[in-house]
Amino acid sequence: MKRYRKWIALVPVAALVLAACGTDEEPADEPVEEVEETEEAEEEEEAVEEEEEAEEDEEAAPVRADADLVIWADDTRRDVVEPFAEQFGDEQGISVAVQEVPFDQIRENVVIQGPAGQGPDIFIGAHDWLGEMVESGVVAPLDLGGAADDFLEVATQAFAYDGTNYGLPYAIENIALIRNTELAPEPVETLDDMVEVGLAAVEAGDADLPVAWQQDPGDPFHNYWVVTGAGGYVFGQADDGSYLADDIGIDSEGGLRAAEIFGELYEQDVLNQDISYDIMIDTFSSGRAPFAVTGPWALGDFEGVDFEVEPLPAIDGNPAGPFVGVQGFMLSAFAENELAARTFVLDFMGTADAQLELYEAGNRPPALVDAFEQVQDDPAVAGFGAAGEDGRPMPAIPEMGSVWEAWTLAYTNIFSGADPEESFEEAANQIRELIGL
């Protein structure tokens, strides 16, 4: 009897246990987190974002939904992908879940959750994640077969890593020159023209900045077009377009010429390390700068200004090519349903319909040639497309991490009055040192 009484104590315990187990039934595919998406807002902001996300991560990492085929997409693309996925699921008789995961969280969580068996089959992402993902073995190759020629060359080149293709591209993005048609009625051809028009506007009191060109404190991403125009490069490229980590071109002849140009721009008061993303946006959107050097992500803020999107001005008579970023669908190496995943990506996301819908949602030029040509009547898209024609895919190799770090500091040094060429040489040597570390 005594024993029996003691066990009565366990009744409420059992009840609570059952209640606790009940939470298991929550729908797993509900939105992971409502985070305001600041997305492609560039490298230097990325550092801050990553920090923010690191904190969010402590709250919850996305966990694979309970379905045969699981796709991770950000809030912008999720709604586009979902109907296609549902159609595919219905046709094939499998269950499909499209989970919403903030863009930059997809990157780290595919690396962490994939090998743990909690990752997706398919995820959207940027091509420059490939270095980390391929080296770590969390992304699977995707053979585009004959379809490769249907996409823009820069897009397929971007998704090729060491000659193997790892994704189906859907959008490209790059920076361009945005010109305020009131302050600068005529297009500019060269960097010198741009500087001249800009400085004149400042002198006349019409503008606060000759060019709204973010640095804060130095921005290798937004400055790269000057480097390519001057004949420099960040990493050498093999014949197939893949980047070679042992050929650093920051201190090549063209690279040093670019350094000189940045020294001049600093002395002319065109550039300094105080121009942050916010200041760039504020100045141009309030009509206080004749030009802005930025990408499609900023256009939403420029609605009050009459502007044209144009190719970046030539440097020393050579066309200037910015970094081009490409977004696409990638397959997890730990997909539970590999065949279905491949079939869905190739048959459903490579169509003009899907690419156009993704374009409308995300406002980035489509990567499929057919769809790309259909949106050319949008002047902004055409402008960014033209600016990207001479662009180079942003290197995806993991060595880029040290480039961002060292090159940013080199620009900062130039904008502090240090010798430009020495600053670039120092950065190149630091990168060699870091890679060998």
């Binding site: 606790a20 068996g117 270095g131 200041i279 279905a340 060595e399 502090s416 120092e426 570390l437």
Partner: protein, 541 residues
């Protein structure tokens, strides 16, 4: 008549007593608490079980059993007080430190994320490729009445074949009856749905249709290719596997040129030094620590960064403490009006998330556009001046950290002052001590006994105050002429995050963990010395 209820009460009390609770309410609360604990741990067990995470599983079970054992007893009173603290200490302090130390001994980082088996599977799978010039067939997976797999293949010219485990057969028009999913081929084969394929995916992916030498030549592909296999649900092509894992030796062998790759520190490496990717997580001993201590690239800026880190932490504690104490003393004077309101206002900087306020300060201190310079009508590079080893940005960081931190010091010193017996000061005053003497000889020593440990904690916190430095200056302005990127306001933790997360070949968690472990020991040593000193203080009193 009155006996019955009395007996019932005593029964409940007896039960409560036996289960170690003082009253029935206490018993109920205890059961509720234990119920929640047990419920949560059962939930944890059910989550961990399918993931095969044995270590945390065992820990959870042991901890739960220990908690039940201790609290469901009327004895073991000391343990009841010790166990929550001990468990919290183990989970939140000891485990992270040990785990960080352990990661520091591995090569975990970009390229070494998977375990060995996952890495081998990936390497082999990646070595299977379709040659560029290979024919890609339209394909439908089939199954015959005996459940044997086959493929219905259509080449680019529209010719149709049946591919079975024995080889290719050309099909004529009449061989296929029906449409779509209802097709019957040669009366025995029917198409598989994607759902069925999903259920037997491994089998389908491994299925190969052998092709004879003649066909190989005709297909104009490499001679190693001898089979057509499934690429997607509806395409198939000749694919070549280049690498093979030898389970007996653990090596990976190149089938074309015979190169042998052996696993060295988590990477399959050939004799000539070429490697395969991905690598895998592996215990590599003290290599990371060795790199930190011997690499010239790290050692170069290390001493400067270390000295500034130390100075930053010490100065942050001193400045915040002095300002906080001064304000607390002033506001402790009863003659002051609106003391409560002022006190609440003063702790606002501390109450706001530093994440936000540090970024606001960064904007305020912007040289060309910052409100501070605009109001003053000057051009002071608060956060970017490289002159005098970045003295100005260093001062700015300290200033902002003072703003962020004095509220905390104000809070704790106010508390300590209010708890201080008024009589002691009264006695000193009677003995003719001046206000300054009372502060110097009575208030401060008493105060330091109370807040001494908190000052040490504040030192440890500021030693690793990544947020303030990273958000305010990003570690900049850069130090010119260093081997690896480093900034004048970089503290150890921000400098190492540059090295470990943004440098070299991607993220290097092993290196980061090694540096963290070293920082942990540094802070531990300083704190130990600090605690010794406060002990001395206590003994004086």
């Amino acid at each position: 008549m009155s006996k019955a209820p009395a007996a019932r009460v005593s029964y409940a009390d007896r039960l409560a007593d036996r289960l170690g609770a003082g009253s029935v309410t206490g018993l109920l609360l205890k059961l509720l608490f234990l119920g929640v604990v047990n419920g949560l741990s059962l939930y944890a067990v059910l989550t961990l079980l399918p993931m095969r995470e044995w270590t945390p599983l065992v820990v959870v079970v042991l901890a739960t059993v220990a908690i039940d054992w201790v609290y469901l007893s009327s004895r073991r009173i000391p343990l009841k007080f010790l166990i929550p603290g001990t468990i919290a200490l183990l989970i939140f302090q000891v485990y992270p430190v040990l785990y960080t130390g352990y990661i520091g001994l591995t090569n975990y980082g970009t390229g070494n994320v998977l375990n060995e088996q996952q890495a081998i599977d990936r390497i082999i799978a990646d070595s299977i490729t379709v040659p560029d010039d290979a024919i890609r067939y339209q394909s439908t997976p089939l199954v015959d009445d005996a459940d044997e797999l086959a493929l219905l293949l259509t080449d680019p010219e529209g010719e149709i074949f049946l591919g079975t485990g024995d080889g290719l057969t050309t099909l004529e028009e009449g061989d296929i009856v029906g449409e779509g999913a209802d097709r019957r081929i040669l009366d025995t084969y029917r198409p598989l749905t994607l759902r069925e394929v999903g259920d037997r995916e491994a089998e389908v992916l491994a299925f190969a249709v052998p092709i004879d030498a003649e066909d190989v030549e005709e297909l104009a592909v490499d001679t190693e290719a001898d089979a057509i296999s499934v690429q997607t649900f509806n395409t198939a092509a000749v694919a070549i596997q280049r690498l093979e894992h030898d389970a007996a030796t653990g090596e990976i062998v190149d089938l074309v040129d015979g190169t042998v790759y052996t696993a060295i520190e988590g990477t399959f490496t050939a004799e000539d030094g070429s490697t395969l990717r991905p690598g895998f997580r592996e215990f590599i001993g003290f290599s990371n620590f060795e790199r930190v201590l011997t690499s010239p690239a790290i050692r170069g800026p290390f001493m400067r960064v270390f000295l500034w880190t130390f100075a930053f932490a010490v100065l942050s504690v001193i400045t915040t403490f002095v300002l906080g104490l001064a304000l607390a003393l002033a506001l402790n004077d009863p003659r002051l009006k609106l003391r409560r309101t002022t006190r609440s206002l003063l702790i606002i900087p501390y109450a706001l998330p530093s994440f936000m306020t540090a970024l606001i300060w960064r904007g305020l201190m912007n040289t060309s556009f910052g409100p501070i310079n605009e109001v003053l009508g000057v051009d002071i590079p608060w956060l970017t001046s490289q002159a005098f080893a970045g003295a100005l940005p260093k001062a700015s960081v300290l200033l902002v950290n003072l703003w962020l931190g004095f509220g905390y010091m104000f809070l704790i010193t106010t508390g300590a002052l209010q708890a201080m017996p008024e009589e002691v000061k009264e006695a000193a005053r009677v003995d003719g001590a001046s206000g300054w003497q009372i502060l110097r000889r009575i208030t401060l020593p008493l105060l330091l006994v109370a807040v001494g440990p908190l000052l040490i904690a504040s030192f440890a916190f500021n030693f690793n105050n990544f947020n303030t430095v990273f958000l305010l200056t990003g570690g900049g302005p850069p130090i010119q002429g260093t081997l690896t990127p480093a900034g004048h306001t970089d503290i150890l933790i921000s400098f190492s995050s540059r090295l470990a997360f943004a440098g070299g070949r991607g993220q290097d968690f092993g290196l980061a963990a090694a540096i963290s472990t070293i920082i942990f020991f540094l802070v531990a040593i300083f704190s130990y010395i600090g605690f010794k000193r406060t002990k001395v203080l206590e003994e004086i009193n």
